[in-house]
Symmetry: D2
Subunit: 122 residues, 4 copies
């Protein structure tokens, strides 16, 4: 309850990392950069803020994302937003995380050839 | 201002319709069915309501969607919601419409092979 | 799962209806009109589409909404979207429904004086 | 284009700060804490993550928010998400910011008495 839902489009900026924990749960994660486009007073578009996220997903979505997504590709992500804070060698760091409920290639920028995966594999 | 933004996942339930208006603007549309899943008191998932939308998109997204999407495929759509009312042979009808800002295959259900389209074509 | 979340601002266009079902669950509902504002080519704002919703809420939110909301007031609503279809005297009708998770007066258009209600009453 | 829209409910955790810049634009800001509630395996709700935001608003909304909101009150906020990074005495800091499009008291937790403000004042 009271989850913070976000919908973000942007580019995959890292290799996609895939692990299996406890011999069973597939987890996939990657960094996503989302750049806001605005118009200047003369009506020309320019790049405004860029926001970075760590996108994480699980199970069937993790398996298919790992097989499908490559560094540099544009994606659309829906999910729950969370801030993660942690320490590296005494320095406090943080990242914006999205636990993805859905991920797809963003067809604004290219074409996608989809192959359904049998349910048993999910 | 005051647009009604929605994020929906569901299945393409019709052939994808593609037209070019005024010799220049590509428009693609299809019907989308989104089914809510709920848990019963014993924790089992079941299909609850299904909501139908007409999804419409323009320009580069329209070209790539027409080349990529097929009837039966699962997609994730973000866009602006609108109700369209019209008459067919004296009977008032309506449909829920989404003007899509982004569309992608939903990687929950399969894999996607993405090909970037050169910018000149958009 | 797969709920269609929406965030809408608009005006309460009916009296607020409040009932208690089964001697226990308070339910409040009202009609909401949300009008999209767009700019014409000269930069002037004009009213574009208006979309109507039936907003329904339950329990504590229903009690407080019934005490707080009046016809004509501007509100911001977050919740789950659903289409309801029904028949009145043989004619099929439909309405767009939002089951509200949160409702508040929209402070864009005026001021609000808030009184917390003790938890026991929720 | 490509803005990151969020809808958040939570509590105002600071006094509300109100300034007027350039003798003309009212700006109001406050900190907001949003706590996710989850169910444990026995079905009991507990507080999970808390996420903090700096909420900022302008013009009419800023004037009315400054007159209406008090520390400790529950609110519902819709707006655009942005990460702001800055330095204080050589230490890099950051905050999650929401530029609010709408703000209202969250009627889940109490009642609101609304007074419309004449348009000239906005």
């Amino acid at each position: 309850m009271n989850e913070i839902q976000v919908s973000v489009t942007g580019n995959v900026t890292t290799d996609v990392r895939h692990v299996v924990v406890n011999d069973s749960t597939p987890i996939t994660s990657f960094r996503l950069a989302s750049t806001t486009r605005r118009r200047d007073p003369d009506g020309r578009w320019y790049d405004a803020d860029t926001t970075w996220f760590t996108v994480t997903c699980f199970r069937a979505l993790a398996l298919n994302a790992a097989r499908s997504l490559r560094k540099g590709q544009p994606v659309a992500v829906q999910g729950r937003l969370r801030v993660r804070e942690y320490e590296v060698e005494g320095v406090r760091r943080w990242s914006l995380e999205i636990e993805a409920g859905s991920i797809g290639h963003d067809l604004q920028y290219g074409t996608g050839d989809f192959q359904r995966v049998p349910k048993v594999e999910r």
